[in-house]
């Protein structure tokens, strides 16, 4: 690891803006790191060094010309492979989109380019973001930088692993049921699911439209906030985008403070199925927050126990429709011959992996005539009850906390044949997706039994994303002081 790759995004942007280092040098250092470690981590599906360097040199030229530089000037960002970016493929981790080069740019990546970021490569993911381990990728799994035999979580596991292994200081993910927070937790980094509608979905290949939320990864709370701020904001191209100012997340990340803050522990998220080390670190975090002046109480959200089943009706229903377009007619894989119907069927059979097919079938059934009310309709009612649970809780606490996921990173292959076990990884994260509010995972230490990272989930009401960063920054500062160094420096997988 070079001196440059160990720097934070905030440090890099400052150094580049000050002319202490060029964006090209920074990008080259990260490309070298990718060359050195990614054959082990397998975070990236696509890296175009020439393109990355040319983006970096453009930043250097702007600096040389005295033009104003953006907040992320010259900072490399790893991009989950479901964002459309002009000039690079977007496979979504699926064989059915192998070789597809989108002809248009997603709003989020366009904003990042405008902020001076260097899109350094496209990262691995569970196929169409369905999974919690990246094992469902059509291009093989990614590996956890803490222990290469473990999964990096998912579905945004490639971006999380890239950031955790210093291949990029920042990463883009999407969170539909926990796909940013869970990989952040098991990779020992920070990851945020912004308020639904706070970041544009235009150019983000859809998994479940009413749940998908693009969001940031970083190694520090401040870096994560910088990316959060740069990628967010109203987008007229996305009807579900919220027309409101971006919450002051960077300001909050610079001023971590929980004194007087009312924090609620979700009482439903503990007990059977929660790994002891996860609960140890969670309890420790609660004590820390109290010691910092927060008022911590327990809050019951009685309908959260129905969140997982409701999610597995709503998300697959939307999947069954969103993924219909992959039919071999216009782009991506085309297999077989004969009538249009035959080609469509054979292409879909050949191109989709098992988990995607499972969810398409689930959703097709849930929406079908005669079952709609009992499945999709009922799940939407549950969704309303979960929103009410949140509303009631936020009536007397400022944020809610829980473990982000019940366990630390599990072995590659361990849950591959057990979808239910895999689905449980998102037990604690799904309610925020169903409600559309904001949530973050911030590292709080290592599980004593296996030395793997554990995170803390903080949840806030819609458009109160800044509260997440206030809490996360306070936790990060206190724990780093206690340890004397950032948690991630203890990662052993690549040493």
């Amino acid at each position: 690891m070079s001196e440059l790759t160990s720097k934070t995004a905030a440090e890099l942007a400052a150094a580049i803006s000050a002319g202490e280092v060029s964006a090209a040098e920074v990008t080259q250092a990260h490309l070298d790191r990718i060359t050195a470690v990614d054959d082990k981590v397998k975070a990236f599906l696509h890296v175009d060094a020439d393109d990355a360097l040319s983006q970096a040199r453009a930043v250097d030229r702007r600096r040389a010309a005295g033009e104003p530089l953006g907040a992320l000037a010259g900072v490399p960002v790893a991009v989950k492979d479901l964002f459309t970016t002009v000039g690079a493929p977007a496979t979504c981790g699926s064989k059915i989109l192998e070789g597809w080069y989108p002809p248009y740019e997603s709003t989020v990546t366009r904003r990042l380019r405008e902020a001076g970021a260097v899109l350094i490569g496209k990262t691995n993911m569970d196929e169409f973001a369905m999974g919690s381990s990246t094992e469902n990728s059509g291009y093989g799994p990614s590996h956890n930088p803490w222990d290469l035999t473990k999964v990096p979580g998912g579905s945004s596991g490639g971006s999380a692993a890239a950031v955790a292994s210093y291949q990029a200081p920042l990463g883009l993910g999407t969170d539909t049921g926990g796909s940013i927070r869970q990989p952040a937790a098991v990779c020992g980094i920070v990851g945020t699911k912004p308020t639904y509608g706070g970041s544009s979905r235009y150019g983000v290949v859809a998994f479940a439209s009413s749940l998908d939320t693009p969001g940031p990864f970083g190694r520090t709370v401040l870096d994560t906030a910088l990316l959060h701020a740069a990628m967010s904001g109203h987008d007229p191209m996305d009807s579900t985008s919220i027309n409101a100012p971006v919450p002051p997340v960077v300001e909050a990340a610079r001023h971590g403070d929980v004194s007087g803050l009312r924090i609620g522990i979700v009482s439903e998220f503990s007990g059977d199925g929660y790994q002891p080390g996860v609960m140890t670190r969670f309890t420790e975090a609660v004590e820390l927050l109290e010691s910092l002046g927060a008022k911590v109480t327990e809050v019951s959200c009685p309908h959260f126990k129905y969140a997982l089943p409701a999610y597995y009706l709503i998300a697959p229903s939307e999947v069954s429709s969103n993924l219909a377009r992959f039919d071999g007619m216009r782009y991506g894989l085309r297999a077989g011959s004969g009538s249009a119907e035959e080609v469509m069927a054979i292409s879909r059979e050949a191109g989709f992996g098992a988990e995607v097919k499972r969810r398409i079938m689930l959703g097709t059934h849930a929406l079908s005539s005669g079952y709609y009310d009992a499945y999709y309709g009922k799940a939407q009612q549950v969704r309303t009850l979960i929103i009410r649970d949140f509303d009631a809780a936020f009536g007397h606490v400022d944020v809610l906390i829980s473990p982000p996921t019940p366990t630390t990173a599990f072995d590659i292959g361990e849950r591959a044949d057990d979808p239910m076990a895999m689905y449980l990884a998102d037990l604690c994260t799904i309610p925020s997706n169903l409600a559309g509010n904001a949530a973050i995972s911030v590292p709080v230490g290592l599980a004593p039994e296996n030395g793997l990272p554990v995170g803390l989930q903080v949840m806030a009401p819609p458009l109160a994303d800044d509260r997440l960063y206030r809490v996360a920054a306070a936790v990060e500062t206190a724990f780093t002081e206690r340890r004397g160094h950032p948690l991630l420096t203890e990662a052993k997988g690549l040493s």
């Binding site: 191209m237 939307e318 216009r330 929406l367």
Partner: protein, 494 residues
């Protein structure tokens, strides 16, 4: 066909209903900024959104909502204060997303009606709903004998049409028209077309597909009080075809029932050439569209103020105009329908406004001008003559400056681009010759040239005078008043 329509009607009561798709005349598509112009190079008016590329998202065209509300108000519907789009899921290559964004159980407009005048009476057709959706692309099947997908070697798809806003206007079933059912169906579509045209929300050209009808037809034994099984006939793309499709489907269903079989609920295709329908896919084994609310769009909630503003901006609708003109011009229903069917309403009204009497305006537009339009294969409104021209012509005839024959010459000259009627009259020095002395020479010459005719007239065969009148008119190049010429000839030969 062994059962005729007439025979079928002895025994069965027909019920029909119509689902009419209308392409709205917005400049851009329903959910993206692509232009909607007809006839462009295939696939030149597309973008990631209307091509349904992965990651693209729809954004509602507010103008399309406004147009649909206009239509709903003109059809006396209630406008929903809150409604949603829904996805209709099915696989087809010309549908880029393999689902269509449409509306399902929450349409924008509901519960209206349209009064249709036919043969002097009025039939009220109930409107169940008016909803918005996006059009599909257009498939071209190449290499087969029929142009249909069956047997084609390959198919090409043009996505220019994909995403063009459509409204679907669905009637309630219309019973009770009896023998007139096919004509009522046609009259409904005609009236609907006129309403849409007056609203200026669509060019409603059935031949270009901007207005397309599906006709639902069923029959039931007269007096049974039950409904028969309906069929849905697609591809009915002219007013005449609407009428023929109902007629042929009633006869076909009567034949099926008479044979002791049951009518199958199915989609049928209308064939313009033969006027009959053939079976398409059966609805009984039809796909499940798995409708659910479109999660990429937020609900549509038109503000009450906005709807009222739109209501106030509605133009005079055809039914109101009809009542007004029948009253103002003292027309019968049939005279009005003749005027409307000739497409001459606007022209006549403008001509009256320019000073002509309603009778004169109708006479010229339905007579000489309709004939010339027909010869030229044009609509009367497309003729290169203005209502003001026709009014000025009518005035010259009324004051005796021109007679009808001269007026027809002036029309011809105006249509040939020689200028306004005043300019033509001046340039050609046309005017009725009212000075008898100026005619004397011509009359004498005509008598001298036709001694046998003159003899007959002297013998009392007055009708023979036409030959001499014609000769005088030819000699004066039509400038004479024919009635006066006849009088003068009879005086001379008395």
């Amino acid at each position: 066909m062994t059962v005729s329509y007439e025979a079928a009607l002895q025994k069965y009561e027909p019920v029909f209903g119509l689902e009419t798709h209308v392409e709205l005349g917005t400049l851009t598509k329903m959910f993206c900024g692509c232009v909607t112009a007809f006839g462009a190079e295939p696939n030149s008016q597309t973008c990631p959104v209307c091509l349904g590329l992965p990651g693209s998202l729809p954004v509602v065209n507010e103008r399309a909502i406004e147009y649909a509300i206009k239509i709903g108000l003109a059809l006396n519907c209630s406008i929903a204060s809150w409604c949603r789009f829904a996805r209709k899921n099915y696989f087809y290559p010309d549908m880029p997303k393999d689902f269509q964004i449409s509306q399902y159980d929450e349409p924008l407009c509901t519960d209206g009606y349209l009064d249709v005048a036919i043969g002097g009476k009025t039939v009220r057709v109930g409107i169940e709903r008016v909803h918005l959706e996006e059009d599909t692309g257009k498939s071209l099947h190449v290499g087969g004998a029929t142009g249909r997908i069956q047997g084609a070697e390959y198919s090409l798809v043009d996505y220019n049409r994909a995403g063009i806003p459509l409204v679907e206007i669905v009637t309630r079933p219309v019973p009770g028209s009896g023998f007139l059912a096919p004509e009522v169906a046609r009259a409904y579509v005609t009236e609907l077309r006129d309403v849409l045209r007056s609203l200026n929300v669509s060019d409603v050209r059935m031949e270009e597909g901007s207005m397309r009808c599906d006709v639902n037809t069923s029959i039931t034994l007269i007096g049974s009080g039950t409904w028969g099984t309906r069929t849905e006939t697609k591809n009915v793309n002219s007013l005449r075809s609407v009428e023929r499709a109902v007629r042929s489907e009633v006869a076909r269903q009567a034949e099926v029932l008479d044979a002791g079989d049951r009518v199958i609920q199915e989609t049928r295709h209308f064939h313009e050439d033969t006027g009959v329908t053939t079976s398409g896919r059966s609805k009984e084994e039809a796909q499940d569209y798995r409708y659910f609310p479109e999660p990429d769009l937020v609900p549509v909630a038109p503000a009450v103020d906005w709807v009222e503003t739109i209501r106030k901006s509605l133009p005079e609708l055809p039914s109101a105009r009809r009542a007004r003109l029948i009253e103002a011009w003292s027309l019968s229903e049939l005279e009005f329908e003749a005027l409307r069917n000739a497409g001459a309403l606007d022209a006549v009204e403008a001509t009256v406004a320019a000073g002509a009497s309603p009778a004169d305006a109708r006479k010229w537009w339905l007579g000489e001008l309709a004939r010339r339009a027909n010869d030229a294969g044009l609509e009367v409104a497309e003729l290169p003559i203005t209502p003001a021209d026709v009014a000025s012509l009518a005035a010259m005839v009324a004051t005796g400056k021109l007679n009808d024959q001269l007026a027809r010459q002036v029309i011809e000259a105006v249509l040939d681009g020689e200028g306004t009627p005043d300019e033509v009259v001046a340039a050609r020095n046309l005017a009725v010759v009212s000075d008898d002395s100026a005619l004397t020479g011509a009359i004498d010459a005509a008598i001298a040239a036709n001694p046998d005719v003159a003899a007959k007239i002297r013998d009392g065969k007055v009708q023979a005078a036409g030959v001499l009148v014609g000769a005088v008119m030819r000699a004066t190049r039509g400038t004479a008043d024919a009635a006066r010429v006849k009088d003068l000839i009879l005086e001379r030969l008395a």
